[in-house]
Amino acid sequence: MSDINDKDKKNQVDEKGTSRREFLKEAAGGTLSAATLAAGAGALLSGKDEAEAKATWGEWFQKNYRLMTDEEKKEAVDRLEKRYSEEYGKKTSVDSVPAQEGVLFGYALNIQKCIGCRRCVYACVKENNQSRHDPEIQWIRVLKMEKGNFLQENMDKGYPDPAGIQVGGNAYQNSGVVLEGEHYYEPEQVPEKGHFYLPMQCMQCEKPPCVKVCPVRTTYREPDGVVVIDYNWCIGCRMCVSACPYWARRFNWGEPNLPAEEMNPVTHYLGNRPRMKGVAEKCTFCLQRTRQGRYTACVEVCPVGARKFGNLLDPESEVRKILEKKRVFRLKAELNTYPKFFYFMD
């Protein structure tokens, strides 16, 4: 009798396909699977890579900026404007103004005047939407150097080696000695006694080694002499970072941290628009400003007027006048990179 009952139960199950227990088991399994799938997909698409995830397909598959037609450039710019405006909660413009005809930008810095206040560094960070923390990216570095020892009795003996700038007279020793670990120096007062300061940034070389090594041609020299990067095309190989003899390129090792309230909404496609993880970046002579006829942020903020900027093709420009009249120094002249960033003394 009991055997018959068992068989009946089994038949019932077979007829229905599933028992209540099996149904619940499968439902629980299904829910769990769906939850895992959703969580996994969420982890892949959200979190700190939100900005990347928001990038549209169009952005992923767009051409190299240089090869785009005007229409494609407009599409790319519109796409970015929409995305940045949503992401940072403010109306963001992405400029695509090309280089002006008859302009070749040049920069000159008076090392006698620089007091090492680093206002230029912070103005640059603010203007160019650099990552504020983890990592804290700065395009300008100001080297704090010890002045050479000045010895009156050696005044007329000449220079023993081609050591470069002899600050404070005939120093008879290399005057530039960086104090290790003082890249982010924060003294109570500047200038500090016995020191001088040497700000450095991208030299916008006429023959840039970084451009030569780029395997995807994402970095190139614009007609106005500024070396730019199409961030969307950069593959993050870091060849340019290694190739730059002036250590001017920075690499986004992590997703940049740019607080929405600090984001500068006036951007240029090839300049200060927010970057993403895994791409190189550097000074662009504030393209978003200079192509509109304004000075760079660092020139504007310098309290002692040590920074000069202008058109090298214009004989009346400040930079040309400096090249004509002042004592001008070049870095690594032997590499023939022809930097358009000059140091000078009165």
Partner: protein, 101 residues
């Protein structure tokens, strides 16, 4: 329960499993399990990668930048002579807009 009956029940169980495997439902089940497994593995791998890289972002940046301080401070600053300056300016003007250069 005699041996014959036990064998018969086992056979039914095996048949059910084979049926389930070859049925459309079985196929879908396998596909879902596969998708879940792949997604979960990818998510775990990505999270692990993110955590590892995040820890190093600032340090990696400093490793890139700080050695430059020493190298740059050791560079030679060459004063340009008047003729060098003249030649440079002439060269810049001449080569402007010349794609051959």
């Amino acid at each position: 329960m005699d041996k014959k009956e036990k064998d018969s029940r086992e056979q039914i169980g095996i048949d059910n499993i084979v049926k389930a495997r070859s049925s459309r439902r079985g196929f879908l089940k396998k596909a879902i399990i596969g998708a879940v497994a792949v997604t979960a593995t990818a998510a775990v791998a990505k999270k692990a990668g993110d955590v590892l890289l995040k820890e190093d972002a600032q340090q990696a940046y400093l490793n890139d930048v700080l050695p430059g301080d020493k190298v740059l401070s050791g560079m030679q600053y060459v004063e340009m002579t008047a003729s060098e300056k003249k030649t440079l300016v002439a060269r810049l003007v001449k080569n402007y807009n010349n794609p051959e250069v």
